[in-house]
């Protein structure tokens, strides 16, 4: 299985080659991308009509009665999206929630055992979808709900489509940082942040891609200067925020924008920003499984998940949707105002081990390499 994945997925450049063609980005692994969501402007009108449309057989879906979702999305948002769907169709949505790598490895493990339990998989890691696609476990589906998603945010073979974009932000404790909050990535290199920084990555190195993006854009010296400040490292962005809220740490690099957004919304003593010189962004994607136990219910839920109404719930939870017809989360700038830095996941996958080893040398600790 491993060998198959190497020979197929790593040589593919699925969406980023198209993305670079579309926006004329520079060479190298990091592309500087313009207004992602504006690319499919004008799709808005048709999307509204498409929201109710579905490619699924509703009667069959109802008789299946259940749908199983594997997701890495925050449960509060998942619960909110599920609720109206269950009420409308009477189909019970069960879900497994874990980190992106947890979700991907669980799906791949089940596939290897030929005991697929998931109907739909959603994870904030396109690299994982490339891996899943390469072992042939994803089902192509051209959903009527995804028309409002730009062509460069989807697999041309329709095995997956981006549903959200997560930006790596700087977040800080307003009481501890005071009147001079860090605005640029290099600000956090300052010795005044010695033993005051926090960032996240699980042991499997799921925080690696955005750090790598940062290093490619602004030099490995930037990461080395962070490491010199002896940052604390936790497993998730939620825990980053927890440490900032409690005042254990003063500032964070590369945390999730939606988690920072929620903390501020809840009136915690935190704030966040997107450095103007560039913000690493990660695509979350969703796909159907070929051997799904509830194929029709899965399609129906997929259509709901990607519909304008469904995605609006996601935006209300602080996430940027991949749909071009939805506004950013309240208080956040539109993505076209940000300079987004996107990784070529295919190339990242190919070099992953060496890169994680490099991060291990810089920061120490466990990166899954």
């Amino acid at each position: 299985m491993k060998r198959t994945m190497r020979s197929h997925s790593y040589s593919r450049r699925i969406f980023l080659s198209r993305m670079s063609a579309a926006v004329g980005a520079n060479s190298g692994l990091v592309r500087t991308v313009g207004p992602v969501c504006a690319l499919a402007a004008g799709a808005s009108a048709s999307a509204r009509a498409a929201a109710a449309a579905t490619g699924a057989d509703v009667a069959k879906a109802k008789s299946e009665g259940n749908v199983m979702l594997y997701t890495s999305l925050d449960t509060k948002i998942v619960d909110a999206i599920i609720k109206p769907f269950q009420e409308q169709y009477g189909i019970k949505v069960q879900y497994y929630r874990g980190g992106s790598a947890d979700v991907s490895s669980k799906v791949l493990a089940e596939a290897a055992a030929r005991r697929i339990q998931a109907d739909i998989v959603d994870a904030s890691d396109v690299g994982a979808f490339l891996a899943m696609k390469s072992v042939g476990i994803l089902k192509p589906y051209d959903s009527p709900s995804t028309k409002a998603v730009a062509g460069n945010l989807r697999d041309p073979d329709n095995t997956w489509v981006a549903d959200r974009l997560t930006q790596a932000a700087i977040q800080w404790n307003t009481k501890l940082v005071g009147s001079a909050p860090p605005q640029h990535w290099k600000d956090l290199s300052d010795p005044r942040f010695a033993s005051k920084l926090v960032f996240f990555s699980s042991s499997n190195g799921d925080g690696g891609p955005r750090l790598y993006t940062l290093a490619l854009a602004f030099g490995w010296e930037l990461l080395e200067s962070y490491a010199a400040n002896k940052p604390l490292r936790v497993a998730t962005p939620q825990l980053v925020t927890q440490l900032l809220e409690s005042g254990e740490r003063a500032a964070a690099f590369c945390t999730n924008d939606n988690i920072a957004w929620r903390s501020k919304k809840l009136g915690k003593p935190t704030d966040y920003g997107f450095p103007t010189e560039g913000v690493p962004t990660e695509l979350g994607a969703v796909g159907l499984l070929k051997d799904a136990p509830h194929p029709n219910a899965a399609m129906l839920f997929y259509d709901w998940w990607m519909s304008e109404t469904g995605q609006k719930i996601l935006v209300d939870g602080g996430k940027y949707s991949s749909r071009s017809d939805l506004a950013p989360p309240s208080g956040n700038p539109p993505l076209k105002e940000l300079k987004l830095l996107v990784l070529d996941y295919a190339k990242y996958q190919a070099q992953r081990t060496q890169l994680l080893e490099r991060l291990t040398r810089i920061f120490g600790g466990e990166w899954g390499a």
């Binding site: 339990q117 033993s195 499997n204 497993a235 939620q238 825990l239 409690s246 254990e248 466990e366």
Partner: protein, 581 residues
């Protein structure tokens, strides 16, 4: 693969060849045989898969993974950190556990029953929760205690819990209970006539302690410290919560790193696990060699209580020392968690404005996974503890009461899971049962198997300790008097060993109730446990809800503990009646 597993099974006789068994005692052979088969299936078979995995089978056969496990600098660093952790915890376990056990078991120190219960509480608290509590208490900048230190004006004296010392300390605060309980149990059951003889021969209190009491309980002390040390290496929770933020790696966290990504590197993880298993085996052999030629029989079935030492003026100073120990190991972590459970915002002090019950509603009513988790954990822990003790008894019986070939091997095998992080055991089980003809993977049964396998060391050691305390002459007497094997076990062995067995059951039940590291890789929708709910909510930063769930977990454990202890105490009453049977 299967053929090889069977070959392993075939290497161990299953009781049929027992020469000294009287004719007609087939029940004995069948009972013991079934236990051995279950045991081999739960531990031997998955371990075979772990070994296969370490050399890259199936598909990638190569010694490369094993070589790399031992030569990569990151792995060597992890091995050194892990070894230092084990040594530190083992020593702390003796330094803390043994004096406290002596104080509560053999002196008239005030509040000794309270202290005894609070040590139990330290063991009850799942170590990942203790870690969370200690982040709140000793976070270098915002920790309660560090803010207190800072307010005294002493600069540069803050304690950083995110350090190797922090990991060692927090783990020791959990596992010192193991040497404590084993030493306590041994001290309680030392035959008082030995001490009385020493006294009559003119030995002073300290001489008696040094020359009679301590040597008698030495097996319990070293055994307890060894268990604590080995257990510390496998406690993934504190290593991850406190070590990883400071970029300190241990073998289990390296293994977790190899497994939690995609594609999971089973071979690397298996190879690293083999290293851990080797360390465990070495520790075990040391203990065996040390204890090999001593007699442990200290109880002859008589329920006579030993006299307590009168401490005089030292009573309260000693109580103060014990208070510090239990405050650090159970009271403070628990208080922090309970306070957070009732707080709207855990970082704020628990004032009237900040009090809420909403976290409990969120934990038990709003969150279906949490509610289901409480139920699943409870039934799994009861089933696992019972099954593990039955198998453990059989293994211990084979070891102590028969001359069966291969019994030592069983005993070694039984201790191995202690050196396997739950994560690794889970991977062994996954690899073993994904291909198993009976659907076990993806059901609650794989969790039960994991729990039984994980608790096997404690179950076997516990049963072993309990049986060692029973003089074989009592059973021989029963057999001579014509009782069958089953009757002898039922009427002699079990009643005498009963209270120790129940305590061992409890020592299996409690960790099973909070088991996390294996569960997290084996659970599926519908089989979530309370620890899964806690872990997932903790990852999501909902600390107040985590605290509420933890409080529920602790209450459930406390109730179970009190009930079991009450039953065990009744068992002790039964023990004293044995000679009259």
């Amino acid at each position: 693969m299967r053929a090889a597993a069977h070959a392993g099974a075939g290497g161990v006789p299953t009781g049929a060849g027992e020469a000294s068994t009287a004719a007609g005692d087939a029940i004995r052979a069948v009972t013991l045989g079934l236990a051995v088969v279950a045991f081999l299936l739960f531990i031997g078979y998955p371990l075979c898969w772990l070994v296969f995995g370490a050399v890259g089978l199936p598909g990638d056969f190569s010694p490369h993974f094993l070589v790399r496990a031992l030569t990569r600098p990151e792995n060597v660093a992890a091995l050194v950190n892990t070894a230092l952790l084990a040594i530190g915890v083992g020593l702390l376990g003796i330094v803390i556990g043994v004096p406290v056990a002596w104080a509560t078991a053999r002196t008239d120190v005030p509040l000794r029953n309270v202290f005894h219960a609070l040590v139990g509480l330290a063991y009850i608290l799942p170590p990942y929760l203790t870690s969370v509590a200690y982040i709140i208490l000793l976070g270098p900048n915002a920790g309660y205690l560090n803010r207190l230190i800072a307010s005294t004006g002493i600069h540069g004296s803050s304690i950083n819990i995110f350090s190797a010392a922090g990991v060692t300390f927090v783990i020791a605060m959990h596992v010192y209970a193991i040497p404590y309980f084993l030493t306590y149990g041994a001290l309680k059951s030392v035959d008082p006539s030995l001490e009385e003889s020493a006294r009559m021969l003119g030995a002073g209190r300290w001489t008696m302690l040094r020359r009679i009491t301590l040597p008698l309980v030495a097996p319990a002390i070293t055994g307890g410290a060894l268990l604590a040390a080995i257990n510390s290496m496998a406690l993934f929770g504190p290593q991850a919560f406190l070590g990883l933020p400071a970029q300190i790696v241990y073998l289990p966290t390296r293994i977790y790193g190899a497994l939690s990504g995609y594609p999971p590197r089973y071979a690397d993880a298996s190879a690293l696990s083999i290293v851990l298993v080797l360390v465990t085996v070495i520790g075990l052999s040391v203990q065996r060699r040390y204890l090999g030629h001593r007699s442990f029989v200290t109880v002859g079935g008589r329920g006579v209580r030993s006299a307590r030492h009168a401490l005089g003026a030292l009573r309260w100073p000693l109580a103060l020392v014990l208070l510090v120990v239990v405050a650090l190991s159970s009271i403070a972590p628990l208080a922090v968690l309970v306070a957070a459970a009732f707080s709207k915002v855990w970082t704020e002090p628990l004032t009237l404005d900040n009090v809420t019950l909403a976290n409990f509603v969120a934990a038990l009513a709003d969150n279906q996974i949490a509610a289901r988790g409480v139920f699943n954990s409870f039934r799994l822990a009861i089933a696992a503890a019972t099954l593990a003790m039955l198998i453990g008894l059989a293994i211990a019986y084979l070891d102590l009461r028969t001359r069966l070939r291969g019994r030592r091997l069983l005993d070694y095998l039984a201790i191995l899971p202690l050196g396997l992080p739950g994560t690794v055991l889970a991977v062994a089980l996954l690899q073993a049962f994904i291909r198993f003809p009976v659907p076990i993977y993806g059901t609650i049964w794989i969790l039960l198997i994991a729990y039984v396998a994980r608790s096997m060391p404690i179950a076997v050691r516990g049963a072993n300790g309990a049986l060692r305390q029973v003089d074989v002459s009592l059973e021989e007497a029963a057999r001579v008097a014509g009782a069958s094997w089953l009757t002898t076990v039922r009427r002699i062995l079990l009643p005498i060993a009963r209270s120790n067995l129940m305590l061992a059951w409890l020592l299996v039940f409690i960790p099973a109730l909070g088991e996390l590291s294996a569960t997290i890789l084996l659970y599926t929708n519908g089989t979530e446990t309370i620890s899964v709910a806690i872990f997932r909510l903790s990852d999501l930063g909902q600390l107040e809800v985590v605290a509420a769930l933890s409080t529920v977990l602790i209450v459930v454990i406390l109730v179970a503990t009190l009930v079991t202890q009450w039953l065990a105490a009744r068992g002790r009453g039964g023990t004293s009646a044995v000679p009259n049977m």
